[in-house]
């Protein structure tokens, strides 16, 4: 048996509730179900009421559309925040990789390579930034030069 219904996840596209985003689900005589996403305006260009728009509001209910609109906004906001956080963490990870490579470069500098000062070399390895790596590298170099 065929049917035609508006899904209850319709939401307002704008604050003045003049446009509605909704999905119409239909089943034909042979049982095939199709869904159509629609953006409906409350009024047409001449200012006449849109019957389809009213049909959705009557079918789904204004309270449900309000709720779905709020839920969707919160969902989108949370998704955006999560995406932002992932980007931040991705950047941090790339930075850490670069720092790792930078430290290995420092350890290949002849004077640092030959240094027996485990304490300073350990500090260099644990450095959290390039500037810290540079500082400990300089300290090791100075010590090596002093020993010469």
């Amino acid at each position: 048996m065929s049917y035609r219904k508006w899904l209850d996840n319709a939401f307002w596209e704008n604050e003045d509730r003049s446009q509605l985003n909704c999905i119409l689900e239909m089943e034909d005589d042979v049982g095939r179900v199709t869904r159509q996403v629609m953006k409906l305006n409350r009024h047409d260009k001449e200012g006449n009421e849109n019957e389809l728009f009213n049909e959705v509001v009557d079918s789904v209910g204004e309270a449900q559309i309000d709720k779905e609109t709020t839920d969707r906004e919160e969902r989108k906001k949370a998704e955006a925040e999560e995406h932002k956080q992932r980007e931040v963490e991705h950047e941090k990870a790339r930075k850490l990789e670069k720092l790792f490579n930078y430290k290995l470069e420092a350890f290949e500098v002849e004077e640092i390579k030959n240094s027996k000062n485990r304490k300073l070399k350990s500090k260099l390895r644990r450095a959290k930034s390039r500037i810290e790596v540079d500082l400990y590298s300089i300290m090791i170099l100075q010590e090596q030069i002093g020993d010469e």
């Binding site: 992932r86 963490e89 990870a93 850490l96 790792f100 290995l104 470069e105 350990s122």
Partner: protein, 241 residues
């Protein structure tokens, strides 16, 4: 007699791996000064630093998966193998031996929620779908047990054969040949001889093998990272200097 304990690190095939191995060994000493370290490397790479940081140096041949050969050569009863491109960053490294419990081998795990960084995890077998579940980046194993010694030797030998095309089972994609995880999967899932091996997963296993490619916002251990794996972000071919 108490079982000996130590770390095995393999830095071979490319000089960068030797440098990563040195860095890892030094980072272990930063947090665990008197630990035992066995460095497996090629004679062409070794320098004073290698001899200084390691208690034992073993020379290996140049092979892409010399790590498995190195794992089988461990001079320690309880051995913690760690991939060379990792770094120790936490003092809890000293607690690693507690993870052995009554297992024969302990690994970190490949799980669905971490799969976004894996190159190939699911695969077809003649019996249906399968997936890799063990990650060989770190492995704690008890070499005092003959079955574990045999396993390590077999893992190396099977991987060697798999990679030089002298062994490959029918019905498996060729793309899997490059993964030592396949030989690990084969031995643990298909070999009758190893069906009773007790294989464990590290507690809070992400602490013991945290891939830097993981997104911290998505994937993080309950406690602080002990061993960080830089696998994905390093240019292994480009000379460091």
């Amino acid at each position: 007699m108490e079982k000996t304990k130590g770390f095995v690190i393999v830095g071979s095939h490319k000089r960068n791996f030797y440098l990563y191995a040195l860095n890892l060994a030094e980072s272990l000493r930063d947090y665990y000064e008197d630990c035992n370290i066995c460095l497996v490397t090629e004679e062409r790479f070794i320098d004073e630093r290698g001899h200084d940081v390691a208690d034992t140096v073993i020379f290996c041949e140049d092979h892409y998966r010399a790590k498995l050969w190195g794992m089988a050569q461990s001079p320690y009863d309880i051995t913690m193998y760690i991939d060379a491109d990792m770094e120790c960053e936490h003092e809890d490294i000293v607690k690693v031996w507690d993870e052995m419990k009554d297992y024969d081998m302990v690994y970190s795990e490949l799980t669905d929620d971490r799969s976004y960084i894996y190159a190939e995890r699911d695969f077809d077998t003649p019996e249906g779908k399968a997936q890799f579940t063990l990650c060989g980046g770190v492995c704690l194993y008890d070499m005092s047990k003959p079955i574990v010694r045999e396993f390590m030797q077999d893992w190396w030998e099977l991987t060697y054969k798999q990679m030089n095309d002298t062994w490959w089972p029918e019905g498996y994609a060729d793309s899997l040949k490059s993964w030592d995880q396949f030989s690990l999967w084969w031995l643990t899932e298909k070999e009758e001889k190893y069906k009773d091996l007790k294989i464990g997963i590290f507690d809070d296993d992400l602490r013991w093998n945290y891939y830097n490619a993981f997104n911290w916002a998505r994937t993080q251990p309950e406690d602080e990272v002990i061993l960080r794996h830089f696998s994905a972000g390093l240019d292994k071919d480009k000379p460091i200097v």
